[in-house]
C-alpha cells in the first residue's frame, strides 16, 4: 500500500516530476486514483499544487480532484513524519484497551491523533480495523503490523523513532 509510505523514504515535492507522473497516466481511463497513489508514493503526500495540474490533464474540475483527495484519508495534504504509527480504533481493539494506548500517547508524548511530532520524527493516526483482531490491540508502524501492543511497546516505538538515525 502506497499510503503507508512515510516522507522519510520519499523525495521532496517537485512540480516537474509531479507533472511527469500525472502525464504518464493521462490517457488511462479512471486515472485519478492511480495518479494520486503515484504522487503519494513519490512524495509522501499530494501537494495542493497538483490539483490544477491533475484537473487540466484529466479535463475535470479542480473541485472534483479536491473531492477525491479529501474523500480518502490516506491521501496526505502535507508530508508525514519520518515514521507513521497507525493505532487501530475499531471494535475489537477498543474492547481490549486501545483507548488507553491513545490516551497514553497523547498524555505522555504529547502526540495528538492526526498530527506529527514537532521534531518531525513521527505521525500518529487512527485507523479502523487492520484485520488483526485476534491480536488486538493492533498498530501499524511504517506499514508493519504489530499485535498485542502494550503501553511499553508504544513508548519504545516513539522513543526509537525520535532517535537520530
Amino acid at each position: 500500500m502506497t499510503a503507508q509510505v512515510s516522507s522519510g523514504t520519499a523525495a521532496r515535492w517537485n512540480d516537474a516530476v509531479a507533472k511527469d507522473i500525472i502525464d504518464a497516466r493521462r490517457s488511462e481511463p479512471g486515472a485519478m486514483l492511480p495518479i494520486l497513489h503515484d504522487l503519494q508514493e513519490a512524495f509522501g503526500y499530494v501537494d495542493q499544487s497538483a490539483v490544477p495540474v491533475i484537473a487540466d490533464v484529466l479535463n475535470v474540475s479542480r473541485a472534483e480532484v479536491h473531492g477525491v483527495i479529501t474523500y480518502y484519508h490516506d491521501f496526505r495534504h502535507a508530508p508525514a513524519g519520518k515514521h507513521v504509527l497507525k493505532i487501530c480504533r475499531a471494535e475489537a481493539c477498543q474492547s481490549v484497551g486501545c483507548r488507553d494506548l491513545i490516551a497514553h500517547v497523547e498524555q505522555k508524548h504529547g502526540l495528538e491523533l492526526g498530527k506529527t511530532s514537532p521534531d518531525g520524527s513521527i505521525t500518529v493516526e487512527e485507523v479502523f480495523c487492520l484485520g488483526n483482531c485476534a491480536l488486538s490491540p493492533a498498530v501499524l508502524l511504517d506499514g508493519e503490523l504489530i499485535g498485542r501492543v502494550t503501553i511499553d511497546d508504544i513508548d519504545q516505538i516513539i522513543e526509537t523513532a525520535a532517535r537520530p538515525a
Binding site: Q48, V51, A55, N59, V60, S61, R62, A63, E64, V65, H66, G67, T70, Y71, Y72, H73
Partner: protein
C-alpha cells in the same frame, strides 16, 4: 397578485412515445415510459415527500424520504429512482412509510440548527416543509456532534457578492453539486471529506476564488438556507412575482421577478420559459441592481450647448424643446437632416414606434439600429441564401445535434445559458469543432473538449469556410438528394465549380488561415458525415469586412451537406442583445419596414401609408455610419438615440465623437448619462425592462413577454415619450398601449400576423413566423422548403481585409466580451459583477509578451492606425502568437479608439474583429484616455447637482 409557485415533479418528465399506466394510491395514472414513480405521482397531484430530488436534476436517491410501497416488491423503494411500470400498484402513504420518514427526518433535524424563525429561508425551506409533512414532533438525538454549534460551526462563506454558503445548514443532499454539473456544466462544486466531515465545497477554496461562475443554479437547487441569495437575507421573502424576460443577451431567459411591494428582491429563472427552461447566468439572475442604481437619471433635462450644464425641466418642456429643434433643423437643412437610432435593448413595441416616428413624423427613412454594428450581415446573408433574416432552429434543437460547429462565438461567456444546454449535449457525446482565433472555454474545460480547434487568424473566416467546403465538394461529401430537391441547381453548380478550385483547398488556404490543412480536412469530414450537424456563430463571423460573405459561406456549407430543415441542424446566429432580432424585425433599418420589406416596394408602403395616414418616402435612409459621415459633411444635424451608447460602442471613437459634436441637436433617451449623452442637448430618462410592458424577440425568433413589475422611475413610459415627441412634431400618432401596438404590428406584418398578447399569455411565447399557416409559431424554419423557394448558393471569394499587419503594426487586435460584463457595461458596471472584471485587459500570448518585455499586469500602450489607448496586459496562452484581444466593457478603456473604419461590404457592419496594432510597455494612459476622463466630467454637469466623477 401572489407569488408564482411552480410544480416540482421531483425528477425530469421523460419524453417517450410509449406510455405506461400504473396505480398510485388506488388511482390510475398514465405517464411516458421512463418517468419515475415520484413524477408520476406528482402528475396526478400527489406530492411524495422528498429532499434530494428536484425535477431539474436526474434522480439521486440519497435522502430516503421518498420511500413508497409497491405491491409485490420487497422493502420500500425510493420513488425517485424507481421508474413507473405498467400495472404497478404504489402506496405513497402507509403507517410503515410514515414511521420510516419520521425517523429519517428526525436524523436530519438532529444535525440542523433550529433557528427557523430567524432563518433567511423561512417560508421557502423544503426541510421545514418536509418536517411539517411527515409530522415530526420530537428529536430524540439531542446530544452529540453536529455541524452548527459553537464547537463545530465554520464561518459562513460570503465571498460571492450575490449569495452565501452556510455549511451549518447543509443537509448534504448534493442538489447544488448536481446542479453545477448537470444544469450548468461547470463542475465547480464537490462534496469534500467523507462521513461526518462531508460538506459541500467549491474545491478547497472560497466560492469567489473557485471555478464557480455564479450562475445561481446551486442556489436555485438548494432546499435550505445553505446557499442563499444575499438579497433575500437582506430583505426577506418576496410577496408577489411577475414572469418577464431578461434584458441581457439574445438567449432571452424567462424569469420570475420576485417583488416585495415595488422592490425587486430576487430574479428566479422560470422553468416554463422555453429559452432557458429554468436556468440562468450571473447577469440575468443577479445583476439587476443597475435598474435602481443611484446613477439613474429620472428627470428630463435640456441644454443649449454641450458645454453647458444640464438643466432639469418638465417632460413637456424637454419634448417641446426637442421637437422645436428638430423642426428648425428640418426647416433649415431639409427633411433628411434628422434621424433616429433604435435600440436592441428596447421592446419590439418601442422600436416599432420609433421607426414609425421617423418614417411618419420625420418624413424620411433615417432610422437605423445597433444591429448595424453586430448582426446586420446575418440578416443580409441568411436572407440571400435561405430567404429569412434569422436563425433556423430553436435552442432545444441542439439536443439532437451530433456535430456542433461553433464559429466566432464564445457561448460560455456571451450566451451562457445556451452554452450550458450545448455542453450538456457535448457531454452526452456530440462532437465539437471550434473555429476561433482564441482558445475559448469550449475548446477545453472540465468534461468538454473540442474534437477540432481551428485557431485561424482573425479576418480569414471566408478562407476557412471555403476550405471546409472545398473538402466537402472535392471528396464527394455533398448531400446530392438534398441539393437536387431543395436548392437552385444552377447556383449550386456555379458555387461547386468555384469552391473546387485549387486556391480554395485547405492546403492553399493554410497560408491565410494559419491552420494546418489536415485539421481542416478532418473537421470538414466530421461536419459532413457525423450526423446532424449544427452551426452556431457570433460576432466573430459578422464583424468583418467579409461578414456577409461568411454568413453566406456557412449557409452554403449547411445546404451542401443537407444540414437544414430538421431538428439538430441549421445555421444559428447567437444574437448579442436581448432584442436584436426584434429590433431588426421591427423595421428599424433605413431600407426596410417590419418583416424585412423594402421601402421602395409600393405595395408594402401602401399598407403603412394606410395604417399611419401619411405619405411615406420610398428612398432608403441613412445607415449609422452614413449619419456620422453626413454629420461631418454638414448635412445631418439632429439625432434621436434611444437606449444605445454609440459613442462607446461604435468603431473609431475619434470619428464618432467628432460627428456627434458636429450635430446641432442630439436627443438621448437612456437610463444613464452615458457616453453619447455628453454630446446631447436633450436627455429623456428611459425605463429599465422592469418598468415596461412589451415583448423581446430572442435569437431563436421567440417572442417573449416583458411584463412591468414597477412603475417607470421617470413617471413616463418610453412609448408615451415617443408618442409625445411625435405629437410635438405635429404627427398625430395614436396613443396606444403595448398590446395594441403589437396588434398594429400584426396587422402590417405577415410574419407576425398571428401574434397577440392573448396568444403570448396563453402559450408563454411564440416563434415567428406566426400566422395562419403557423398559428402557434415556427420553431424550425425551412422544414420542407426554403422561405425563398429554392436554397440559393452564393459564390464566396475570399478577399483579405484592407487592414493589414506590417512592421509598424505587427499584431492583430480582436475584441470580444466576458461572462460577467455585458457590452458597453452600462448595466453590469453598476452591479457587483465588477468584482469579477473591474477593468478591460489586453490578452497577449507569452511569446509576444516576452518579445516586448511585458509581464502580466503591466500597463501597455496599444497603437493602431486610428488611435492609442493603454490597458493592463494579461499574458495567456489562450491567445495565439500574433493576436491580442480585449473587451470593451469600460468606457475609458477606449477599445474603439483603436478600431478602424473598415466595414462589411454589404451592410457596413464594422470590422471590430481585425485591427493591426503594436503593443509596448508604458507608464501612462493615452492622450485620448486623459482627455476623455476630463470630458466625462465636464460634459456631464447637472445644474444644482454636486459634480460627480465620471461614472
Amino acid at each position: 397578485m401572489g407569488l408564482i409557485q411552480e410544480i416540482d415533479y421531483g425528477t425530469p418528465i421523460r419524453v417517450s412515445e410509449k406510455m405506461v399506466t400504473l396505480e398510485i394510491d388506488g388511482v390510475s395514472v398514465t405517464v411516458p415510459e421512463g418517468t419515475s414513480v415520484m413524477a408520476a405521482a406528482m402528475s396526478m397531484g400527489t406530492a411524495i415527500p422528498k429532499l434530494c430530488a428536484t425535477d431539474s436534476l436526474e434522480p439521486f436517491g440519497s435522502c430516503r424520504l421518498c420511500l413508497v410501497e409497491i405491491e409485490g416488491r420487497r422493502g420500500t423503494p425510493a420513488s425517485c429512482t424507481t421508474p413507473a411500470e405498467n400495472g404497478m400498484k404504489v402506496k405513497t402513504q402507509t403507517d410503515r412509510l410514515a414511521s420510516l420518514r419520521k425517523g429519517v427526518m428526525e436524523l436530519y433535524i438532529s444535525d440542523h440548527p433550529l433557528d427557523c424563525l430567524t432563518c433567511a429561508a423561512n417560508g421557502d425551506c423544503e426541510l421545514q416543509d418536509m418536517a411539517g409533512v411527515v409530522g415530526l414532533r420530537e428529536v430524540r438525538y439531542a446530544e452529540g456532534d453536529n455541524h452548527f454549534d459553537a464547537k463545530h460551526k465554520v464561518e459562513k462563506d460570503e465571498s460571492n457578492p450575490y449569495f452565501t454558503y452556510d455549511a451549518s445548514k447543509c443537509i448534504v443532499c448534493n442538489r447544488c453539486v448536481r446542479a453545477c454539473e448537470e444544469t450548468q456544466g461547470t463542475f465547480a462544486l464537490t462534496i469534500a471529506g467523507r462521513g461526518f466531515e462531508s460538506r459541500v465545497s467549491p474545491g478547497g477554496t472560497d466560492f469567489f476564488s473557485s471555478e464557480c461562475v455564479s450562475c445561481g443554479a446551486c442556489v436555485q437547487a438548494c432546499p435550505t438556507a445553505t446557499l442563499q441569495e444575499k438579497s433575500i437575507i437582506d430583505h426577506g421573502q418576496p410577496d408577489h412575482s411577475v414572469v418577464t424576460t431578461c434584458a441581457y443577451c439574445g438567449v432571452g431567459c424567462s424569469f420570475k421577478a420576485e417583488m416585495k411591494g415595488d422592490k425587486l428582491v430576487n430574479m428566479v429563472p422560470y422553468k416554463a420559459g422555453k429559452a432557458n427552461e429554468g436556468h440562468s447566468c450571473v447577469k440575468g439572475r443577479f445583476a439587476y441592481g443597475y435598474a435602481t442604481h443611484k446613477d439613474r437619471i429620472t428627470k428630463p433635462m435640456i441644454r443649449k450647448s454641450i458645454t453647458d450644464e444640464w438643466r432639469e425641466v418638465s417632460w413637456q418642456e424637454a419634448i417641446g424643446y426637442a421637437a422645436s429643434e428638430f423642426k428648425r433643423l428640418q426647416a433649415n437643412y431639409g427633411r433628411d437632416s434628422v434621424g433616429a437610432i433604435t435600440s436592441s435593448r428596447c421592446t419590439n413595441e418601442e422600436v416599432y414606434l420609433v421607426q414609425k416616428l421617423v418614417r411618419a413624423g420625420f418624413g424620411n427613412n433615417n432610422v437605423d439600429t445597433c444591429a448595424r454594428v453586430c448582426h446586420s450581415p446575418t440578416g443580409y446573408g441568411l436572407k440571400q441564401t435561405f430567404g429569412t433574416s434569422a436563425g433556423t432552429q430553436d435552442f432545444k434543437s441542439v439536443e439532437y445535434s451530433d456535430v456542433i460547429l461553433v464559429i466566432g462565438a464564445n457561448p460560455t461567456d456571451g450566451h451562457p445559458v445556451f452554452a450550458s444546454r450545448m455542453k450538456k449535449r457535448l457531454r452526452a457525446g456530440a462532437k465539437l469543432i471550434v473555429v476561433d482565433p482564441r482558445r475559448i472555454d469550449l475548446v477545453k474545460s472540465p468534461h468538454i473538449k473540442a474534437d477540432y480547434h481551428l485557431p485561424l487568424k482573425p479576418g480569414t473566416n471566408v478562407a476557412m469556410v471555403n476550405a471546409l467546403a472545398h473538402v466537402i465538394v472535392t471528396e464527394g461529401l455533398i448531400n446530392e438528394d438534398f441539393v437536387r430537391e431543395r436548392c437552385d441547381l444552377d447556383a449550386f453548380e456555379a458555387w461547386a465549380r468555384f469552391i473546387a478550385l485549387e486556391h480554395n483547398s485547405p492546403e492553399a488556404m493554410e497560408a491565410s488561415t494559419g491552420v494546418p490543412a489536415a485539421d481542416v480536412r478532418a473537421a470538414a469530414r466530421l461536419y459532413a458525415t457525423g450526423g446532424n450537424a449544427a452551426i452556431f456563430y457570433g460576432l466573430g463571423v459578422t464583424e468583418h469586412s467579409q461578414g456577409s460573405t461568411m454568413v453566406m459561406g456557412m449557409a452554403n456549407l449547411a445546404m451542401a451537406t443537407g444540414n437544414i430543415g430538421r431538428e439538430g441542424v441549421g445555421v444559428n446566429p447567437l444574437r448579442g442583445q436581448n432584442n436584436v432580432q426584434g429590433s431588426c424585425d421591427m423595421g428599424s433599418f433605413p431600407h426596410e419596414f417590419t418583416g424585412y420589406r423594402h421601402v421602395s416596394d409600393d405595395a408594402t408602403r401602401e399598407i403603412f401609408e394606410k395604417m399611419w395616414g401619411v405619405e411615406l418616402s420610398d428612398e432608403q435612409g441613412l445607415r449609422i455610419p452614413n449619419m456620422f459621415d453626413e454629420a461631418l459633411g454638414g448635412g445631418f444635424k439632429g439625432l434621436y438615440v434611444q437606449g444605445e451608447d454609440i459613442a462607446q460602442s461604435d468603431p473609431n471613437t475619434h470619428h464618432v465623437q467628432a460627428s456627434l459634436k458636429a450635430m446641432e441637436c442630439i436627443v438621448v433617451q437612456d437610463l444613464f448619462l452615458n457616453e453619447t449623452a455628453r454630446y446631447a442637448h436633450v436627455f429623456l430618462p428611459g425605463s429599465s425592462f422592469l418598468e415596461k410592458d412589451g415583448t423581446f424577440t430572442n435569437a431563436e425568433r421567440r417572442i417573449n413577454r416583458v411584463r412591468q413589475v414597477m412603475a417607470p422611475l421617470s413617471g413616463k413610459s418610453e412609448l408615451d415619450v415617443t408618442i409625445d415627441f411625435a405629437h410635438a412634431l405635429g404627427y398625430a400618432m395614436p396613443r396606444m398601449a403595448a398590446a395594441e401596438i403589437m396588434d398594429e404590428i400584426a396587422a402590417v406584418t405577415p410574419s407576425f400576423a398571428g401574434v397577440s398578447y392573448d396568444k403570448l399569455d396563453k402559450l408563454g411565447s411564440v416563434q415567428w413566423p406566426c400566422n395562419e399557416a403557423a398559428p402557434e409559431g415556427t420553431p424550425l424554419m425551412h422544414a420542407d422548403r426554403f422561405v425563398r423557394g429554392k436554397g440559393q448558393f452564393v459564390v464566396t471569394e475570399y478577399v483579405a481585409t484592407e487592414e493589414r499587419v506590417n512592421a509598424r503594426f505587427p499584431l492583430i487586435l480582436t475584441t470580444g466580451r466576458i461572462l460577467s460584463q455585458y457590452n458597453v457595461g452600462a448595466q453590469t458596471r453598476r452591479t457587483a459583477n465588477v468584482d469579477w472584471h473591474e477593468e478591460d485587459l489586453l490578452e497577449i500570448h507569452p511569446f509576444d509578451a516576452s518579445e516586448r518585455g511585458i509581464v502580466d499586469g503591466d500597463l501597455v500602450a496599444i497603437h493602431s492606425r486610428s488611435g492609442e489607448v493603454s490597458l493592463r496586459a494579461k499574458v495567456t496562452e489562450r491567445m495565439q502568437p500574433g493576436v491580442v484581444y480585449t473587451t470593451f466593457h469600460h468606457p475609458n478603456s477606449g477599445a474603439n479608439v483603436i478600431t478602424t473604419d473598415f466595414s462589411d461590404w454589404a451592410t457596413n457592419c464594422p470590422e471590430y474583429k481585425v485591427t493591426a496594432v503594436e503593443v509596448r510597455r508604458t507608464n501612462h494612459l493615452s492622450g485620448w484616455q486623459l482627455e476623455d476622463a476630463e470630458e466625462g466630467i465636464s460634459l456631464r454637469r447637472i445644474a444644482g447637482h454636486m459634480s460627480e466623477a465620471a461614472e
